[in-house]
């Protein structure tokens, strides 16, 4: 986690945020326990996941769902619940599994 984040010498003192509109740079996805996995082949483009996602973390391309913004997805799983059973294009997996695979 600390690998890509700045050290104590390189951040404003006292927790000040001196660059406005910088919330997007904050990777809220770092806290995630479980992650949604998107299967493009099964997706019927109903857009329910995009509507319900509380973190605006469903990536679109020309109005079509193409995947998850893992930098900002907190892993709440609402998209998985809302994805219609007939499609089941979204499923949850443990975050640590993914980490183990990449390591």
């Amino acid at each position: 986690m600390s690998k890509q984040k700045p050290g104590w010498r390189d951040i404003p003192e006292g927790g000040l945020i001196i660059n406005p509109g910088s919330a997007e740079e904050y990777k809220t996805g770092d806290w995630r326990n479980k992650r949604p996995v998107f299967d493009a082949d099964k997706c019927i483009q109903c857009m329910l996941c995009w509507i319900y996602c509380p973190d605006n973390a469903i990536n679109l391309d020309e109005g079509k769902v193409i995947g998850i913004d893992y930098d900002h997805c907190k892993g709440c799983g609402i998209c998985v619940v809302e994805c219609p059973d007939r499609a089941a294009a979204l499923s949850l997996e443990d975050e640590h599994k993914k980490n183990e695979e990449t390591e």
Partner: protein, 401 residues
């Protein structure tokens, strides 16, 4: 308060410790003062508010309903980018507690005179150091003063220390409740324009009230950044060690009065010494002089700077002694001695040859300390030096058995 001109750039004045601090605040002329009166600090707020009412200062005086609000309003003003001060004592400081940490954590250069008083309960309005010793770890710089003169001098220097770009930390300036705060003293005060020139104007690097450069203070700071911000505060304290000395030198050039981390009194050739803060150091000096006349090699070390804690310098000043008594005017209830004792003893650990050390808890709740008590401590120290044995690590001086 009577002021007589007799020194170049300075005036001789008769003031109580509280008056001296209020007078210093008048000369500093902070943009905002938010304060709530509490014994024995009350005179500071009372006197300063008359300066405001009489139009002698251009300060926004915020009359708050509690110390929690006093510190909150001071934090708000400092964040907005102006020079802000408050003052308190004892339970007032305790009531400020959570905001005290917000001031230092947000790197706001607030200066706060604190008139040391025992904490309740049971309720007590007299001097001990339990109030500010509790805030040792709050990230504030702490300067302790022996007299009204030192309280005034420390206050003026505190502004520069707090606002120094390498430091940017709040500073508490202590004096002993009633003993110093209400005792009339002759002291030298600077001319107003010399104070103004010494402290300069304050320019906040990231003021809150900038429409074209919005800044957020006090955001949520979780596992991934909070630690870094605490590390930065330590660095500010580390820098403060140099800045405190530099500013003391500058102040000495202006006033002729010398300041450092601590004052050594007849310490260089001493065999045994007492370490004690604030007004009791004055009483101890009298005893040192008396015993020196009898040919006894006794000395005194009076700490001024407890935060940051310049451990190596303290150890260096004490390393040649056979025995040292640290006198603490507060308890830690650790059953292992007072706060100054614990820290100094730890600072001596690296020395290959250490003096024997003992601790005296004294003066809690304003219990008087007499020259005969201090003489007794020196007698104990000579006994320890002779026998090489510390019978009691922690002693209670002046408590009834």
């Amino acid at each position: 308060m009577a002021i007589a001109d007799n020194l170049r750039g300075q005036k001789r004045a008769a003031m109580t410790g509280n008056e001296a601090v209020a007078y210093g605040m008048k000369q500093i002329e902070p943009d905002v003062v938010a304060a709530y009166p509490i014994t024995p600090q009350t005179d500071i707020v009372e006197k300063f508010s008359s300066y405001v009412a009489d139009g002698e200062v251009d300060t926004e005086f915020v009359t708050v309903e509690s110390e929690h609000s006093a510190m909150s309003a001071t934090v708000g003003a400092a964040a907005a980018g102006v020079r802000a001060m408050t003052a308190t004592s004892s339970n007032g400081l305790a009531f400020m507690w959570e905001v005290v940490y917000i001031a230092s954590g947000s790197r706001l250069p607030i200066v706060m005179p604190v008139v040391n008083r025992a904490l309740s309960g049971p309720i007590n309005i007299h001097c001990d150091h339990s109030d500010t010793m509790g805030t040792r770890d709050s990230g504030w710089i702490q300067l302790y003063s022996e007299s009204a003169q030192e309280a005034y001098d420390n206050l003026i220097q505190a502004v520069r220390i707090a606002e120094h770009p390498d430091v940017r930390l709040p500073v508490m300036v202590m004096q002993d409740g009633f003993i110093t705060s209400h005792g009339m003293e002759n002291l030298n005060v600077l001319e107003d324009d010399l104070v103004k020139k010494f402290i300069g104007t304050f320019k906040s690097e990231n003021p809150l009230l900038q429409v074209n450069k919005p800044t957020t203070f006090g955001p949520l700071d979780l596992q991934d950044f909070y630690f870094e911000h605490k590390r930065q505060q330590v660095e500010g304290m580390e820098h403060a060690k140099k800045v405190i000395v530099d500013i003391a030198k500058e102040y000495e050039e202006l006033t002729g009065r010398q300041y450092s981390y601590f004052e050594s009194y007849r310490l260089d050739d001493a065999e045994v010494a007492i370490v004690v803060l604030s007004s009791t150091a004055g009483t101890t000096k009298v005893v040192v002089d008396e015993l020196r006349e009898q040919g006894l090699k006794v000395g005194l070390l009076k700490p001024r700077v407890l935060r940051p804690f310049p451990a190596e310098e303290y150890a260096d000043a004490l390393k040649h002694l056979k025995a040292v008594a640290v006198m603490d005017r507060s308890e830690t209830f650790s059953t292992n001695g007072g706060p100054v004792f614990s820290e100094l003893r730890s600072a001596m650990f690296e020395l290959e040859e250490r003096p024997l050390m003992t601790n005296y808890i004294f003066g809690l709740g304003g219990r008087d300390i007499w020259t005969k008590d201090i003489k007794g401590v020196y007698e104990d120290l000579f006994e320890i030096a002779k026998t090489g044995q510390v019978k009691n690590k922690v002693n209670y001086l002046g408590v009834r058995d």
